[in-house]
Every structure is written in C-alpha cells, then in structure tokens.
C-alpha cells in the first residue's frame, strides 16, 4: 500500500477521497500544467541542448551528441517539475526561470565564443 499512495489500498469504503477532481478550477490547473510540461518543457530542453552544444569543450560532433543526450533527460525532468510544483503558476514560473537562466548562458557563450 505504500507503492501508490494517491489511492491507498485497500480502499476504506467510508472515507471517500475529496472529489476536487470535478471543479473547473482544478481542470484549468491540470490543463495549464500540461501545456507548461509539454510545450514549455520542450522549449527548456531545446534551449539547454543548444547552450550545451555550443558550450561543451569537445569536438563539434561530440558536443552536439552529448548535448542532445542531455536534452533528452532535461525534458522528462521538466515535465515532472510541472506536475510536482505546488500550483500551476509556480510550475510556469519555475520553467520560465530555468529557461531564462539557460538563455543567459547561451547568450554568454554566443558572445564570448564557445567550442563552435
């Protein structure tokens, strides 16, 4: 019963879970998180890949491969963040913050010249 705590097993028939699931606000929250996760998460992954590909001190082909391999890990982590954050607004804020940070790194690499 520890493995999937959201729905404790066996279900106690008298203690129904709060059915917040139905409210429109809850649905809007889920939608906002899903958009942040799928769209925003991809953007963050692509930005990180771009920055890493330019910043890594390897041969061009190696930095591209290493950066893309890393990007594939950034994406699911970003998705999980979006659903772990306390609210949809915080999910968006977190993504925006991380993206801004990566964008700054990217700008620095571009300006001062990286491996490429």
């Amino acid at each position: 019963m520890h493995s999937i705590p959201a729905d404790p097993l066996p279900p106690s028939p008298h203690k129904a879970r709060p059915r917040a699931a139905a409210s429109p606000a809850y649905r809007a929250g889920v939608a906002a998180r899903a958009i942040a996760a799928i769209g925003g998460g991809y953007l963050l992954a692509a930005l990180s890949t771009r920055a890493l590909a330019l910043a890594l001190p390897l041969s061009p082909v190696d930095s591209v491969v290493a950066a893309t391999l890393t990007g594939l890990v950034v994406y699911p982590c970003a998705i999980m963040w979006c659903f772990a954050a306390a609210s949809a607004a915080r999910a968006w804020l977190g993504l925006a913050g991380a993206s801004a940070l990566v964008a700054i790194v990217l700008l620095l690499v571009r300006t001062f010249g990286g491996a490429a």
Partner: protein, 535 residues
C-alpha cells in the same frame, strides 16, 4: 499535485501511462518481436528454408558471390553482398543497376530498383524467388513508423508516447517506497491488490531494461526530436553533421573511365578477419567494380560488438591493398550514442542474451498491460458504488472506453499478430501487392477485434479473443510444416535453429494465451479481478 510530492507523482504516473498505454503496448509488442526480425523473415519465406545447413567457409561464399555478380552485374556501379550467418543462412548479392547512357535525368524513375539474388552458399544454386513479404521488417517498422501514415507522423507520435513512458517510469520510481520489497511480493487472487503486485513485479523485475529501452529508443531518433543542438553548431549543414557522426564516406565519386579487373575479394576477407581477431565479415560493398578506382568496404558481422557503430575496413579494388583507416573516429559522446543505439536494437547479442532481451520485452508488455487493466479495476468499484447509491444509472463512459480499448489493444493485438503469419502462408504466393495484403489482413483482424471489444467489453469477449489468438499461435508449427516450410522435425534435425525457435516460441505463446483464456473462466478468479467482468 493536490497533496504531497509523492501523490502528485502517482497522479502523473497514472495519467502519463494511461493516455498513451495502448500505443505503448503495441510498440512494446512489435519491438519485442523485432529482436527476432531476421528469424521471423526467414520463417515467412519458407522457400529459403532449404538453404538451411550452410556450412561453407567465408572464402567459398565470397568467391561464389563475386563470380555471380561479375556475370550478372558486371557494369553495375555498386555491389552489396551479405554473408551467410547463423541467423540468415542464405548468401545475398545485390547491385545498383548501371544508369542508362544518355538518358534524361528527369525521365529516370525516382526510386532506383535494385537487383538482387539469393544463393544457397553450399550449392551455389539460386534459391527460388521467395514470396513477397515484409517479414519481420513489418513489426520493426510498425514499432516506430506505425502504418498507413507518413513515417514522419508515425515517428512523432511514437516519440511522444515514448517520452510519456519515460515520464511514467521516472514518476513511477519516485512514488515507490518499497521498491526492493515489491520485488518479492505477489499476492494472487486478491483482486485489485493482485493487479498492483503484478504491475509492480513486471515493472521492477526488468526496471533497468525498461528505463534503458525507453531512453535509448528516444536516442535512436533524437536528432529528429531535438534538433536544437545540431542546428546550433552545424546550422543547416545537417549532412556535414551526419558525415561527422558516421565517418564520412567518400563513396559517391564518379566511376573512372579506365577499366581494370577487380581483385579477388577472398584475400581481403581473410585480412579483415585477421585484423578483427578471427571475427567474420558481415557486409561487403564494392564501389565501381571493374573500374580503375574500384574500392571495397568490409563491415564486421553483427553480433560481435555492442555498438551499432560497426568497425569497417576499406580496400583498393584493383590492387587488393588495404587503404588507411578511413572514417572518422568519434569521441566519447559519439561512442556512447553508438553503444546506446546498439543496446536498443540488441543486434550485438548472442542467442541467449537476445532471449533475455525478448523476455524483458515481454515483461514490458506485461507492465503496460497490467497498468492499463489496473486503472479499470480501480475505477470500477467507484462506479459500482455510485450506481448502488442511485447517483448514476450506468457505468461511466470513461471506464467503458478504457475497458473496450484494453480489450482491443491487448487481446486484439495478440490475436492479430498470428493472423499475419497465417495470411503469409495461406495467401497465394504470386500476385501483385501480396506483401500489402498480408498486412491488410493483420489490420483487419485487429480492427474487427477492437470494434468487438469496444462494443462488448465483457469477460467472455476477453476469453474468446485470447483463445483465438492462442489457437492461432499454437498451431503455427503445424501450418509451417503443412505449407512448405521446414517443420519442427526437419528444422531440429538440420540444425535450422531460427525456424525451430520461431515454431517453439509460437507454440509456447499460444499455450500461454490459451491458459489465460482458461483461467478467466475458472471460478477461483474473483469476480472483481478482471476488467470488464462486472460491467
């Protein structure tokens, strides 16, 4: 989400798994079958079973191929030779036809048709033209290209599902408190709890495999899914990137106008084999045979090295001397990607390891299937309670939909897969569009099963579909023997392990499905346990 971290991850696990689960089951099932892609193809071409006991040396085989190609395709620009191996006993020689002289380049057909011939290496006889079939390549393509749509769309859809799967696996691990204990926990015949245990067991048992196969699957197409890095460094020179990645071949040079006889290929194979510590050569490409600038490229046979980046050697086609190792050696990251790519396709593995991969793939199918069924099993009591309380009159649409899709997606697919093999043997072996017809049979069977499942998601429907699938699978060895293939007795006697293995695995799978159908009817199964049973 609403509560703690663990709860929100459990929510994410449920939904990222459920929404793409049916496609994932197909991807897992077809991908698992693809481990034996060559064996499936061989089984589906019974005309080739006669090439079976091929025990000739590489030197004899290559001489045969060279002589045949010189006769048939002397003016061709490029030859391809695939050496016989344990997995495919036939020797295959192919060529690119010489372009018609003075032909208008616009008038040329878009797709060049390749010539090819399949030989029995022991006798040198051309093997009867095998029936037109996609063979095991169908499942291989299906598992990332889908079908009846452009491959590009298919790859994006499968990529989306695979990323969902990765999220489901990662969030599933995070929600798990007792991952070690669950490994040893199975409580059968206890309804919902048993499904949870089965899901945990199949997931945890092969967890490294599931993580590896999902991530490396994304890696195989990662430059399409995430082209940002390539664009940043190479801008729009993607072909330069791929040349750097794969060790740029300079093979597309123009043929020299000067003629020169091609050196014998046998000694080149010997030298390559010596350099590779006795490992055999797999594929041979001859560029511009019979010209002064002919070159020969030899690739190590698959199954000797884990990476998909197979070592290769180039020889001068006229002098027969080895050319200095062409092809760029990538650094650590390129090697790492090569290994991951190789891990995903598993072609390096010897039969035993490949069987383990196959079993892990089956565990993956079980993980997806039990996860899907568990959603329905958990949802059902809520609906029943609501109905008892008089709140609603009927079972909810969502639950009914999931029940129907579970039936069609799981039992329906397991029924459609053997239908493909039956169609392969029962359709007449001539005729145009035969290969597509086989595939149409597969999808028709699946479609009918899925519609029946959606129309009537009940326990008896599960039993019917599982039983049909089981019978079709279990009878495949008989069908094989009856329709011109090497039957079990012959294949075992001649050491034709690829065909014998296909028959035996089919028999086993069939009996497993039949047992499942039988179990669903026995009284010891609690009513609440099965999806669709109470509806």
């Amino acid at each position: 989400m609403k509560e703690g971290f663990r709860q929100s991850m459990a929510w994410l696990h449920t939904w990222s798994g459920l929404l793409v689960g049916w496609i994932l089951f197909m991807v897992f099932a077809a991908g698992t079958a693809s481990y034996f892609r060559d064996e499936i193809t061989l089984w589906m071409k019974p005309e080739l079973h006669a090439a079976a006991p091929a025990r000739v040396s590489q030197a004899e085989a290559i001489d045969l191929a060279q002589k045949t190609l010189e006769q048939r395709a002397g003016s061709s620009r490029r030859w391809f030779i695939t050496m016989p191996s344990a997995r495919n006993p036939a020797l295959e020689a192919g060529w690119v036809p010489a372009p018609a002289r003075g032909a208008d380049p616009q008038a040329r057909p878009k797709r060049r048709t390749f010539g090819s011939i399949t030989l029995a290496p022991a006798t040198g006889k051309e093997l009867g033209k095998a029936r037109a079939t996609r063979g095991g390549d169908f499942f291989f393509r299906l598992h990332f290209d889908l079908h009846y749509m452009s491959a590009l769309w298919g790859r994006w859809i499968v990529g989306f599902c695979a990323m969902s799967m990765l999220v489901a696996i990662l969030s599933g691990i995070v929600t798990h408190k007792r991952i070690f204990k669950d490994f040893f926990t199975f409580r059968p015949a206890r309804g919902q709890r048993s499904w949870l245990d089965a899901h945990n067991l199949s997931a945890v048992l092969a967890l490294p495999y599931h993580l590896m196969i999902t991530y490396t699957g994304l890696v195989t197409l990662m430059f399409m899914y995430l082209p940002a890095g390539v664009q940043a460094v190479y801008h729009d020179r993607t072909d330069a990137f791929y040349a750097d990645l794969n060790g740029g071949p300079a093979a597309d040079a123009k043929p020299s106008p000067q003629l020169a006889p091609l050196a014998p290929l046998g000694p080149m194979l010997d030298e390559a084999s010596r350099i590779w510590h006795g490992a055999p050569v797999g594929r041979i490409t001859v560029n511009h045979p019979g010209r002064a600038n002919a070159s020969v490229n030899l690739v190590l046979q698959e199954g000797r090295d884990m990476t998909q980046h197979l070592p290769n050697l180039s020889f001068d086609g006229v002098t027969g001397k080895r050319m200095s190792g062409a092809g760029a050696e990538g650094g650590g990251a390129v090697q790492a990607r090569g290994v991951m790519y190789g891990l995903h396709v598993g072609r390096f593995a010897d039969p035993l390891l490949r069987a383990l991969f196959f079993l892990s793939g089956l565990a993956g199918c079980a993980m997806v299937a039990t996860g899907l069924l568990m959603w329905a099993v958990k949802e059902r009591p809520k609906h029943l309670k609501a109905r008892q309380d008089g709140k609603v009159a009927k079972v909810g649409l969502g639950l009914r939909l999931v029940d129907g899709l579970n039936l069609g997606g799981i039992a329906g697919l397991l029924l459609a897969m053997p239908v493909l093999f039956w169609a392969n043997r029962l359709l007449p072996s001539g005729g145009t569009g035969r290969a597509d017809l086989e595939i149409a049979c597969f999808f028709t069977a699946w479609g009918v099963a899925a519609l029946a499942g959606l129309a009537c998601p009940a326990r008896w429907m599960w039993r019917v579909q599982l039983a049909i699938g089981g019978l079709l699978f279990a009878a495949l060895p008989l069908l094989n023997a009856a329709t011109g293939g090497a039957g079990l007795a012959a294949s075992l006697k001649n050491g034709l392990w690829a065909v014998a293995g296909f028959d035996l695995v089919s028999l086993l799978l069939g009996m497993l499905l039949l047992y499942a159908a039988y179990r669903l009817g026995s009284r010891s199964v609690p009513r609440a346990r099965l999806a669709g049973s109470a509806a």
